[in-house]
Subunit: 484 residues, 2 copies
């Protein structure tokens, strides 16, 4: 049997590898990625489980895994809605991994149960809910599904026992720009993707309230049962914030559950300068929020918050007697597991608790504001340059969407052929950035607006970015793109 | 901005705390738990997020969190279907936490994507599937839900688009002894808990095949649509294995999807001595298996495996264009994300890959066999003692279920009053064990058999147990229970 000494020694060796391979905090002069095609990487890594290896060989493979992994802690990783980890968050993760337990009962997770309760208490307060409940879930898609399931249960509790067959169809309303988890969720939950009504958004990506109301009326006319309007705080591509107060008014008028998918934008709850964008969120019935996105809590760290105190338990409980015995030696209200869809549930609260405890809301506020301000600076700078076309001149979160136009296409008429050329630029430029190991930034189309292949720069709290980083990114575009 | 040096230093300090607090491998003479009631623990830990703290204070709180957390790596933690972590699994977890990325695309997780593919390839082979697919999911409940969703989709692909409303009710068949995730899953998926038919099990906890067939016929008669039979490999309480070949015959006869919930017992796939108990599992359509249970992969580590090659993708895909662009610089078949319900998906494959790579199937086999043999030894030993009553004289996995009878109740008639007394023993004795910090072992009722409060001892691979540990546990029962 390994001793604690043995294990600590091995983990320390790994820490050295992680430090040497610049994983923990990647300096900007190091590669953000060393790209290899899958078949070549496969050969390089020797991942086959048909042969075993020694501890030394394992360390060598780990070193290569680190080398060929994308460095999300690199300042020029701006590819997704997450990036590097918070130092204290990572510390919390190491701690809960080592203590390897499940979050379902106080019996097996006394300290972590109290941590989760405290994070949820404080988060409810931050939202502006005067009461409520919450649970950590394995990601935003699941958190959003918690919202749909609760909305449905509140409207029709019988669905738990009897199922949907034979009932009228349930309908969910969300933005055309909303995350695809509502579609996947509607499939899984037996609602059907046809019953997710995609509401038109305005030019800035905010759902048009009148269109929601029209859609609700239409659903009622079709003898369907509207159960939820989902408003988004920070849409995936444009970063737009829906108009929460307007949506809350509509939900109130029709007696419909209001959910806010704040997986991305929820971290603005901490912001001094931008908190106002979330005004009205406190009128929602439920909220999803992923501290693993902007704040840099280690993946996975997602929270579902609900305003109604007993509903989460009532809706989800199954009362498994092998786990939730009622004759325990402590007050069983500390057993959170029966509120959850999951049985075994990873400890995700502690890493976020660690960050929050040491940094406090003030420091988290500065970090969020800095991320958004860096994005704002980037936007203002590219506005000045004729090679950049902005999709939106303003934005709500820290997403900046734009096309890069090489010199040869400047000043020409924007015909279909011209756009066809422009739409090749993003994948080609991205390929160059990746091959040069200098920058990772995403691009995508937006089909319902008939837009193709524009870049989306996303700034998060970790690693801490500066204006200098933003300037450098612009230079990279010019250097690799101008003559493309 | 923190340097890699800073972060590594802080993590090293935490490793010292983890070692000093005997978290990484807890010697048997250390407490398995230092129990405090929730209100007292709350005071002790100072978890409030209303005040911040310094790095030193954070380390002090972490130390206390370690001290008051249950030591799952203690040889006398036999409370759940998981326990301590595998050293190499923990190393893999630290590594993937530090590299903080999502499993959805090769673009952001090149090495981890290949790892996941390799683990799934090798697992399919281990099961005996000659083709197939798979995905890591955040726990067994979700993995089982993948099974139900695929079964439903195969029977009625239209459910994805149209939902269940207006359709005939779908029905799922599973053992009375099955895990509660089928009930919770049926609620979420819109099937309804009433449409989970709980099939009677025999004395040893194995579903009675004739009863399944009766239930299927009944469902068809009621104009419902049978979609899945779930067989369990290792039931939660008794550890029973259903009769896979008999169930496969029935599923074939009626054209019904066969799923095997092997979350607990799936690790017997590695076993030399007990692999035969899984005979017939290769006839299933899909399987759930949690290496975080018996094998000691860090939580969460759960796999869903399916025999049909393209179904997982076809069923779950939403084709989000911001993530799964088709004009990437590599073959996009390496992007696994659209097979998943989740969008962001934690890297869970690498920790299991690390364990498997270094230990090889042979060493994992020895570890599984040792766990089961220790449980067998325990069973044989308590059989010899009149203070123990066994629920089953044989078992399939490493669950041993029994009552402990104090001396004063020996030889008396087993009346209702006698059983009422016995049913108090487990909670009282457990309380003593916990207060003495010496042993954590679960107890539970089994309502559908009208049984109350018997102990369930569970042996897992980590920490490695010996016959001496088993002897000591028996002595603890005698010491604390004989005169209760």
């Amino acid at each position: 049997m390994d001793t604690g000494e043995d294990i600590a020694t091995f983990l320390s060796t790994l820490l050295v590898v992680l430090r040497e391979e610049a994983v923990l905090a990647t300096p900007q002069e190091k590669p953000v990625v060393v790209f290899k095609q899958p078949d070549l990487l496969q050969k390089e890594l020797n991942l086959t489980l048909d042969e075993t290896c020694t501890e030394e060989e394992l360390l060598l493979i780990c070193r290569k895994v680190a080398r060929y992994s994308v460095k999300t802690s690199h300042p020029y990783f701006l590819n997704q809605l997450y990036a590097g980890v918070d130092k204290y968050g990572l510390a919390g993760a190491l701690f809960s991994e080592a203590l390897n337990t499940n979050q379902y009962t106080y019996e097996v997770a006394p300290a972590f149960s109290l941590c989760e309760m405290e994070v949820i208490r404080k988060s409810l307060k931050l939202v502006g809910f005067t009461q409520g409940d919450g649970i950590f879930s394995p990601g935003g898609s699941l958190s959003n599904m918690y919202g749909i399931v609760l909305a449905r249960y509140q409207k029709c509790p019988n669905v738990k026992k009897s199922g949907i067959a034979g009932m009228k169809p349930f309908v969910v309303f969300t933005s055309k720009d909303a995350h695809y988890s509502f579609t996947k969720g509607a499939h899984w939950l037996g609602i059907g993707t046809d019953n997710v009504k995609a509401i038109e958004a305005d030019f800035n990506g905010r759902m048009i309230p009148e269109k929601i109301e029209e859609a609700i009326k239409m659903a009622i006319k079709e003898d369907k049962v509207p159960i939820m309007v989902n408003a988004t705080a920070g849409t995936t591509v444009l970063g737009a914030f829906d108009k929460f107060n307007d949506i809350a008014d509509i939900c109130k008028k029709y007696g419909i559950w209001m959910h806010v998918d704040a997986c991305w934008g929820g971290s603005l709850l901490f912001s001094k300068d931008y908190r106002y964008k979330l005004n009205g969120i406190e009128r929602a019935d439920s909220i999803s929020w992923n501290p693993h996105k902007m704040l840099g809590a280690p993946l996975q760290c997602s929270m579902f918050l609900v305003k109604h105190t007993n509903l989460l338990k009532e809706c989800n409980m199954a009362g498994a007697t092998y786990l939730f015995q009622q004759d325990k030696m402590y007050d069983v209200k500390y057993d959170s597991g029966d509120k959850s869809l999951q049985c075994g549930r990873k400890v995700d609260a502690f890493k976020f608790w660690s960050m929050w405890k040491i940094r406090g809301s003030d420091q988290l506020s500065h970090m969020v504001d800095n991320a958004i301000n860096c994005a704002k600076y980037f936007l203002e700078e590219i506005k000045k340059r004729h090679n950049f076309i902005l999709l939106l001149e303003e934005f709500d979160t820290s997403n900046v969407c734009f096309w890069y136009i090489p010199e040869r296409l400047i000043g020409l008429e924007k015909t279909k052929t011209w756009w066809d050329e422009v739409n090749q630029i993003a994948p080609n430029l991205k390929k160059k950035f990746v091959e040069e190991s200098c920058l990772m930034i995403g691009y995508q189309p937006l089909a319902h607006r008939n837009l193709k292949n524009f870049f989306r720069l996303v700034v998060t709290c970790h690693p801490v970015r500066t204006k200098a980083h933003m300037d450098n990114i612009i230079q990279m575009f010019e250097r690799h793109g101008k003559n493309l």
